[in-house]
Every structure is written in structure tokens, then in C-alpha cells.
Subunit: 655 residues, 2 copies
């Protein structure tokens, strides 16, 4: 074994990872072995972090965007003194372990974001850099740079090929997010084989075109070259991409540099040969030389020092700027909402004409924004349609990073992943809007928010065929069902302005998972019954003694009220239920659910301007739209699809 | 009014479009007015087409990727003599019209692809260029270039910002698709305002980095400059991007060059002022000068001549190459499958060990490939996992365009849109694969395939938590439900190798809509009962006189068979139903459906390793997974989630 501590420290990453993959008989040795020197350089020479306090807000962030290399991250976390044991490493990819196949936020201390689906980590980092730049602009004072996190990532060929990363990279360049430092594992290998098969573009030139600072490291195993490049990256005001020429599966004599090294265990023979090759003992597996562990574990003490220094600087700051200091305390350290934030929520008087729920949402955003400086957001180039602008605040731009209005461009997917990154950074409550039909464009990011518990707020307007003339390409029909299918995602479709305000209340309060609002383009009456969105579903009105229940969400709620009145006029007892959110309703206790939907009333009709899928669990019959929409004025479409009080009443009578 | 026929011909496009938008009181005048000269140049100087035979296979293709400018396309189609009347234009965006808000393939003659969701048209064109290049390589002979279609598109800022277009552009550059000629409406305006807000990258440089030929036209109203650029583009072997500096809403004195011109009617006053400004009579609306119509309508006669010439060349070709000529006739002209293609489908003997359905799919692909030269496809860099390779065929690459194996790279979204473009081009039956969880990445393209009736085949392997250790980021749970929610999409999840072969039979035969196959990573027993996938669901076996029905799809089918046997051993009568496809089952007549799921047996349990959403329509109880998965070996996960014969039997007994 080499006596060079650095070489052995890097090899420890390689072989802890390869051993974990081998023991699990599953996983990806190629990335850890190929990028160990890059990870070593970032983690031991640059990354400011505190392993015993992984959530320390002064830390830099590290993202392994190629999450399939998770064993590398787990090795780094264990070696650096995070709450991850050697046992955890030995239980890589096993039931109940803290070392799942791909890194999961919230599951393993020190994992900043969930990665695996390619491109997401890349774009999450852009969100973090945005949050960081915004908070720095809000809080930092000359000589008091409390917030100056760098965002490091190891990114892969797959990340660079994914559209979401292209979108995010373009925006990062536009915004000149100088704290972003991405090291690209340029190994020229993907699963199908050489990148020559499909990926021969000039990557450096592309990123230059985005406005990035681009450097080349010719040998991705050379710590000094990597270190110098990172130093230059830090000194540059643009986001940085450092192309590091690496060898996938470095060290494995028969597999390195081939796609065979990517996604399967090396096998005992090749693993042994790799260890021989790099001067590492074959046994024991999971071997960590004492001096290597001691070296990495210095991160613990260094972290404590960084924290102590930060605390001192924070205290000085709080003395000089008491008001900002208190706000810093609330937003950044305690991550708490102001005590009386809910008082800012507007209420709307009953009004037959009413307003579109997107318009109501715009009003709520502005009312809340005054009370909640952490509420920031924007739209994927549909701000005037999504009503997402905070009046009186500038745009978040390179020159105005304190601005609270975000222009994501026509980049829905990047918006989703950026919102995730912002939300998990802390100190901000981000929202982003587009049309509901384009939730499809950002669905992988919505899924990751739900899986990881990112508290992002997704605003989707134009939520049905009611949007009218733009036609079926723009009319969501299957989207509510498809979004409700995602576990841990709260979907709310408010029926009027007051339900919209309450939906926002739920969304803002909901700090451990994402919330999604589906809002209308068209005006809806403001109803008389006090709303109860937090309950998911509630009785709007009983017309006589109910024999039938009509239930609906969003724009169809006023329709069932009208229909119920018609039925009541004919002497039929009807209950009208507003049903803005399945997930919130399911979270209620049995007694409440029974009180709204009593088992003894099985004659139930659900009405929603979308596919019927899933409503069967609540209703015997569903009036929905099990086809694509059509281009015509919204009212005309509703009529053609049977969304009239007459037809609802007729359908109810069929029960 | 100017006497210049060309200027008036261009203005006719502008004002037909603006009048249509004005009359509908809805739509987008900005793009048509800004790009009229570009469209004019393409359509009157370059595009080879035949308005009276819009499907003529020798034609070039034109895509309006910014589909919101639909009025421009409809104006072009009407003026050029397609089956689209002035009445249609006057009924722009109205119920039942042939002029919906965004162009829809199959709905309006001459619309090559459905556009509107940005980036899709851009990527569809790449698919068309791929199909064109492949077919040219297969059929063309020295001196007999029957297939040499150019693919023209007008693309917008929004298209260039979307990730799907970035992915497709990178692949187009890699493949050097020289027939692609994209004219970029570089108007510097998006909905939020100036593109300076979010889109300041060096677009020309980015496309150069992709390997494109890039040109600038400084005045997007200058026909000669545009014409010269197109000529140079044709002469270049790379895909071409021509950046045309345009003015959105050109001519409208108060709105041109602003985001106000983008997406709302000009209003009568501004429309009149624009007409005054460009020397156009205010009235009548929808005015077309006779000589302008005569000029555009020459396209009809020119089309006939092009067709006649092509026919002559085709006949000469058929004489010289009779075998290829017959194949050309079948694949290209008649678009028919070989008479006995189904005989190529393999059958698999019952086998308790069996094989993964992805492996079976690989065998079926190869068996079919021998009989169906039009079957071509690949994977988004997961070929070894998706089993999508056609053995013995080279890759489709710049140097080997006759190759049938496609490497899409880690670009799922572009793959989806490219498959759509290929499928609609004709002459090929394209398929593409990735993991089921990544169907989310390409969902907007899957939706458009369903909406438009593109006969693409989507292959999604690793279709449940059964994939094992890769964990929840890679384990689909909500995806089957979310995909079944899409109207007009046939989702098939076969239970074994024979069902897989039949699923492929359905997919290949299904030429007017997309088909999706969900396949396992893990091995499944090959069952004894003859499969009946075309029926959607069928009785596998009755154990005694059924009191209970167990139903399942895919990997859970062998599980319910086991459970049914257990129940039968206890003297309980059970029916086991294999349920590979809801959509195919719904297409059966009432009698058949009743024969499989008789109304008098309401004790029904559905078993599927995914969210329960929607199964309620068939079963009283559902054993599913209403949470995200976990990282562990697949069998361990199945056990933990209750997917064991014992638990299925126990759940059934609860009924």
C-alpha cells in the first residue's frame, strides 16, 4: 500500500464504494472509482460543512447529481463523521438501511437533495444558488457576509444530456450565479457504450454560450489540477463548469473505461485485481486505514470551528442590525413563520360574479407577501396568466438579487427542480406557476418533491377545459387524476376566492411536503358557506334531508349548488359537498369523514371537469371528461360536455 | 395598397391571421405578423408539397413549432389550396371548426404535427428528419432519390428554452441531420416581457456547439435574405438554424415589439391602424386580393407536377429494382404491414422459472424485426436494460443511416417527441425504451401521441418496486395509474412472455394511436393458459365455482394464481383474471366484459404493485402500494408490501 496519505484517502473512497456494491451485489462502482479524487478535493479542501450539524445554515452544499454513485456519497459521509456508520455502508441497498440505492433527502443525514433521476440534482443546485444569492442580498451587510454558500456538484454525462439541466444551466448563466461550481465527470462512457454513440456536442462551448465560466482538467485523478480549477471557479463571478477528464471504474483492470464498470458489481476477481492494481489490501472488505479515517474526521472539528466562527459573526451582526438579526433568527435559524402570518390572509365577501381562482390567488400572494418576506416565486413565462407577481418587488436578476419575482423562462421542468432546490435550501418559501397542462413538463420534479418532502408550492392555473379556445393541447383533463396518484403530494383545487385563500394557508403551513394548487382561468362565484379547505371536503349545504350527495371540486362546485337547488325545488333532499382535496380529506378522522359522506347515503354523484379516474372511491357515479378537450369558448365546451346544472340534476336523478 | 404582389402576399398572411384572432376574440396575432415573410419564403420558394394530396410521401414537411401562431398556418393552408375554407378561418377557435387554437394533427389537412406545447414541434421535426434519412438510406439508389424530404420549421424563443428541444438539437447535431432547416423567430419577446428577463444565452453559439450550421438574417421581413439563407442551409450537410431577427406583431403601431402583441387580439382600433400602416384595406375583414390568391394557389398545380414527376421516377425505380420497388410500395405508399407478419410472433412454452417480460420483449422485437424491416427503435441510453436492441443491425448513425438501432442518449423527453415525429412521417414503426419511472420525463410527448393519434410504441421496463435495490427514485408506483389516465393511450402490462408477444402484436397493429408496454425487470413464470391480451382481461382459471374474483396485471398475475390455489385448497371457489390492459378491456362488448367479471360476483380483489387509484372501478378491494417504494432486493420489498400468496389469500378471505 502506498504511504501517500492522499492517495490512500482517495482509494478508501473507491474501495469502500466498490466493497459496498459488491456486498449488496447491486449498484454502481464506476462513478465512485472514477471521481474519487474530485470528491476528495471538494470535501477536504473546499467544502465548508459541519458533520455533526448537517443542517448548519452557513455550510456549502454538495450535490451528487449522478445519484447512482451513492456509495461515494455514503463513503464521504461516513468518513467525514456524519451520522452514518460502517454498518450502514455494509447494509448498502438493503431494506430499512440508511444507504438506499440512490441518495434520499430526509433519509440520510448530509444528503442535501434526492438524486438519481438525471438532471434533477444539477437543477436543484441552481435553485440553491438562487436561494443563497437572494438571502445574501436580503441579509448580508458590508463586512458581514453571513450567507455565502457555494454549491458544489459532481455532474455526469447523463445530467448534461437531460433537458432539465440545459434549461437550468441557461438560467444560471443568465443570472450569473457565481456560487455554482460544478465538476463534470467527463468519462466518455454511458450505459449504451461510448458517448460517441449519442453525445458528441462541444459541451464546453455550450456552457460558454450559456454564460458559464468553463475550465478543463485533463486528469481527473490529479488533485492539484482540480484544486486549482476550483480556486479559479471561486474567483469568477459566473457559474463554473469544470470538465474533468476521468476514467469510469478507475483501477479495475478489465472494466475501467468501459460501460461494464457503470452499473454492476465488479465481481470478486475484478475487485481484488483493482485493489492489487492500486495497492490496496484485498481484505478486509470495508477497510479504512486509521490515518485515513483520522484525516477525514478532521472535518468534524473543522466544522465546529466554522460554526463557532459563524456564531460569533452572527452575534456581531445581530448587535449591529437588531431588526435584521431578529429576522435572520426567525427565517434562517429557526425556520419559523411569523406568529400572526395567517392574519394576512384575505377573505372575500359572497359575490355571484366572483373572480377566477387564479386572480384570487394573485391577491392572496400579495397579501401574504407583505407579511412573509420569505414568500418568493414566479412563473415559467406566464406571470400575467398565472397571477404570480408580487406587486412592487423587483425581479430577481443578477443586479437585483433581493427581488422576489422570478422569471424562469419557458422552462417548466427547470422551474420545478429549482423550486425544489430553493425550498430545501431554507429561509425561503418558493412558489412557481404555469398552466396545469404543463405540470407534465415538470412532473419528474413534482415527484421528487413529494418523495423527498420538499415544501415547494406549485401553482397551476387554467385547470380545465374551461380555459376555452386554446384547445386540447392546453386543456388538462387527466392531470388532476395523474397528480393525485403521486403519494405525499397535496393537491388542492379551490372552488372560489375564499377556498383559494385557505388553500394558500395550507400550502404555506405545509413545510415538510409539497402542495399543489389547481386554479381556474375563468371567474367563479364567491360562495356563501364558510370554506373549510383544511378538512379536504366539507358540507356546503344540505337541501332538505339528503338522499343524494353531490360533490365537486373547483369550478364545478357552484354548478352542483345550482343543480342541488333544482333538485330541492323538485322535493329531492340533496347534500352539496365541496371537495377541494382528496389528500386533506383522507387525513381526517373516520368520524369527520363519515359526517361529510355518511355510509348510509350511497347515492352520490361526483362532478369534475376532468377524467373520472379515482372518483369511484367516493361516488357511485361520476360526471367527468374521459376524452381530450376541444377548442371553443369555455362555456360552450362546458355545455357540450354536459357541465350544466340541468344535466347534473338529471344525472343525479338517474341515481 | 402597395402594388408589390410579394408585399401584399405577405400582408395577406398577416391580416388573415389578425382578422381571425380578432373575430374569435382570442388567439395570438404576434407570431403570424412577425414571421409572415419567413413563412412566405418557405412556402412559395422552397416547400415541395401538394395541397390536394397532403399526404404525398415525396413532400417536404413544415412544422409551426410555436403552435400558438396557428392562424398563420391556417392562412397558409387556405391560401395554398388545402382543404380549409375561408369559412374555417372565420370560425377560428370555435366548437367543431377545423381551425382549433393550436394546430392538431389528424384534425386539419396539411397540419403535419400537433404543436402548442413548446419544444415538441422542434423535436418532432428531428424525428421526421431521422425517419427521412433512414428511409433514404434504405430505399434511395444512385440517381434515384425518391426520398429526400426537407424538414422546415418556424421555431420560437419558447421552443429554444425548452429542454426537450435542447435534447433533440444535441442529437440532431450528433447525427448531422442535414435536411433539418429551422427558422428561428428571434423577436426578443416572451410573455413576461423582453427575453432579457430570462433568456440571454448566446443561442447561435449553443447551436454551433451542438454541431449545427448557424446563420443570421438581420431582417426577418427581407425575403431575399431569408431565401439566401435557406439556400445555404440546403447546401450544408449539418442541420441548420437560421436566426431571423423579427418584430413580434409587425405592423401594429402600438403593440409591435411588445409582449402585448403576443397572445391577445389587437382590438379593432389597433388592427385598423396596422392595416393603415401596411397599406391594407380595413374592410372587408378576411380580405384576399385576387392576384394574391392566384399566386398562392399555384401551389396546387406545382404540387401536381411534383407528384407526377415523382410518380415517373418511382416507376423507373420499380423497374430497375423490382424487389425494393415492391417494398417501397408496401411500406411507403400503402403503409401496410406484410400479410403474414403475425406469424413471426414467438410463443413460449409454460415454464415455472420463465423470464422477465423485458427479456421476452427483446425476443419478440428480434423475431418481428426479421419480418418487419420498418420496425426500428432504441432506448434512452438503457438498451441493455430495456432489451431494445435488434441483433445484427448497426446503429443508426451519420455514417450508417440504414441502421435500425437508435441511441437517443439520456434524453427521454426528446426520445418521446422524436418517436412521435418518426411515427407520423410514415414508412417506419418506431419504438423507444426507458424505465417506467422515467415515463414522467417524456410525459408531454406521450400525451401528444395520444391526443394526435401518433402510432409510436413506448417500452417501459422496470415496471414496479420489483426492480429492487435502485430504490424509490427508480421505482414507479403511481405511473400505471397516471398513464391510464391519459385518454386514447393503450397501456399494456403483460403477465408473462406470451402476453408480451401478444402485447407487441397489439402495438404493431395499432396504427392510429400510441401503445405503451410496461415490462418487468425480474423473471416471471410463463403461464399455461393461452393468453388473450387483445381482450384486455380474460379468465386464467376458475378454481371451482367462483365466489371471489382475483384480478391482477403483470408480475402480480402469477401471485393471484398461487393465492387462488391456496383458497381453492380451502374449498373456496375463485376465479383468477389476468388484466393486462384496461383500455383493451373497455373496448370489448358488454357481453364479453360480463363473461369475465360477472355482476353477480362482487367479491373482487385487484392486485397490482402500484397505487390503488382507479382499480375501484373493477374491484371492491385493492392490494396495492399507496406510498413510495424502498431500496432493497425486489423479493424483500414485495414481502414487506404484502405481495405474497398468503397475504393475497388472506385479503381475499376478508371479502
Amino acid at each position: 500500500m502506498t504511504t501517500d496519505l492522499q492517495a490512500r484517502s482517495i482509494n478508501a473512497l473507491r474501495f469502500l464504494s466498490a466493497d459496498a456494491v459488491q456486498k449488496a451485489n447491486s449498484g454502481h462502482p464506476g462513478l465512485p472509482m472514477g471521481t474519487a479524487a474530485i470528491a476528495y478535493t471538494i470535501w477536504t479542501r473546499h467544502l465548508r460543512h459541519s458533520p455533526r450539524n448537517p443542517k448548519w445554515m452557513g455550510r456549502d452544499r454538495f450535490i451528487l447529481s449522478g445519484g447512482h454513485g451513492s456509495a461515494l456519497l455514503y463513503s464521504l459521509l461516513h468518513l467525514s463523521g456524519y451520522d452514518l456508520t460502517l454498518d450502514d455502508l455494509e447494509n448498502f441497498r438493503q431494506w430499512g438501511s440508511r444507504t438506499p440505492g440512490h441518495p434520499e433527502y430526509g433519509h440520510t443525514a448530509g444528503v442535501e437533495v434526492t438524486t438519481g433521476p438525471l438532471g434533477q440534482g444539477f437543477a436543484n443546485g441552481v435553485g440553491m444558488a438562487i436561494a443563497s444569492a437572494h438571502l445574501a442580498a436580503v441579509f448580508n451587510k458590508q463586512g458581514h457576509d453571513l450567507l455565502d454558500s457555494y454549491i458544489y456538484a459532481i455532474v455526469t454525462d447523463g445530467d448534461l444530456m437531460e433537458g432539465v439541466a440545459s434549461e437550468a444551466a441557461s438560467l444560471a448563466g443568465h443570472l450569473s450565479l457565481g456560487k455554482l461550481i460544478y465538476l463534470y465527470d467527463d468519462n466518455r462512457i454511458s450505459i449504451d457504450g461510448s458517448t460517441d454513440l449519442a453525445f458528441t456536442e462541444d459541451r464546453a462551448k455550450r456552457f460558454e454560450a450559456y454564460g458559464w465560466h468553463v475550465q478543463h482538467v485533463e486528469d481527473g485523478n490529479n488533485v492539484e489540477l482540480i484544486d486549482s480549477a476550483i480556486k479559479l471557479a471561486k474567483a469568477d463571478s459566473r457559474p463554473s463548469l469544470i470538465l474533468c477528464r476521468t476514467i469510469i471504474g478507475y483501477g479495475a483492470p478489465h472494466r475501467q473505461g468501459t460501460s461494464k464498470a457503470h452499473g454492476e458489481p465488479l465481481g470478486d476477481d475484478e475487485l481484488n485485481a483493482a485493489k492489487d492494481n492500486l495497492g490496496w489490501p484485498r481484505e478486509p472488505r470495508f477497510y479504512i486505514p486509521d490515518d485515513v479515517l483520522t484525516f477525514y474526521r478532521k472535518a468534524v472539528e473543522r466544522g465546529r470551528e466554522l460554526e463557532a466562527d459563524w456564531k460569533m459573526r452572527r452575534e456581531a451582526y445581530a448587535r449591529l442590525f437588531p431588526e435584521l438579526g431578529a429576522e435572520f433568527n426567525r427565517r434562517i435559524l429557526m425556520n419559523k413563520l411569523p406568529a400572526d402570518w395567517e392574519s394576512a390572509l384575505p377573505t372575500f365577501p359572497p359575490d355571484a360574479k366572483g373572480m377566477a381562482t387564479r386572480a384570487a390567488s394573485g391577491k392572496v400572494i400579495n397579501a401574504l407577501a407583505a407579511k412573509l418576506p420569505e414568500l418568493i416565486g414566479g412563473s415559467a413565462d406566464l406571470a400575467p396568466s398565472n397571477n404570480t407577481m408580487i406587486d412592487g418587488s423587483p425581479s430577481f436578476q443578477k443586479e437585483t438579487p433581493a427581488g422576489r419575482n422570478f422569471h424562469f423562462g419557458v422552462r417548466e421542468h427547470a422551474m420545478g427542480a429549482i423550486l425544489n432546490g430553493m425550498s430545501v435550501f431554507g429561509g425561503v418559501i418558493p412558489y412557481g406557476g404555469t398552466f396545469l397542462v404543463f405540470s407534465d413538463y415538470m412532473r419528474p420534479s413534482i415527484r421528487l418533491a413529494a418523495l423527498s418532502g420538499y415544501p415547494a408550492i406549485f401553482i397551476f392555473t387554467h385547470d380545465s377545459v374551461g380555459l376555452g379556445e386554446d384547445g386540447p393541447t392546453h386543456q388538462p383533463v387527466e392531470h388532476l387524476a395523474a397528480l393525485r396518484a403521486i403519494p405525499n403530494l397535496t393537491v388542492i383545487r379551490p372552488a372560489d376566492a375564499n377556498e383559494t385563500a385557505q388553500a394558500w394557508k395550507v400550502a404555506v403551513a405545509h413545510r415538510n411536503a409539497p402542495t399543489l394548487l389547481a386554479l381556474t382561468r375563468q371567474a367563479l362565484p364567491t360562495l356563501e358557506t364558510p370554506a373549510a379547505v383544511e378538512r379536504g371536503a366539507y358540507v356546503l349545504k344540505d337541501f332538505g334531508t339528503p338522499e343524494i350527495i353531490l360533490m365537486a371540486s373547483g369550478s364545478e362546485v357552484s354548478l352542483i349548488l345550482e343543480a342541488a337547488q333544482k333538485l330541492a325545488d323538485e322535493g329531492i333532499g340533496v347534500r352539496a359537498v365541496s371537495f377541494p382535496s382528496w389528500e386533506l380529506f383522507e387525513a381526517q378522522d373516520e368520524a369527520y369523514r363519515e359526517s361529510v359522506l355518511p355510509k348510509n347515503i350511497q347515492k352520490r354523484l361526483a362532478v369534475e371537469a376532468g377524467v373520472t379516474l379515482g372518483w369511484e372511491r367516493y361516488a357511485q357515479s361520476v360526471l367527468g371528461i374521459d376524452r381530450f378537450g376541444a377548442s371553443a369558448p369555455g362555456k360552450v365546451i362546458f355545455e357540450h360536455f354536459g357541465f350544466t346544472a340541468e344535466n347534473v340534476a338529471a344525472k343525479a336523478k338517474e341515481l
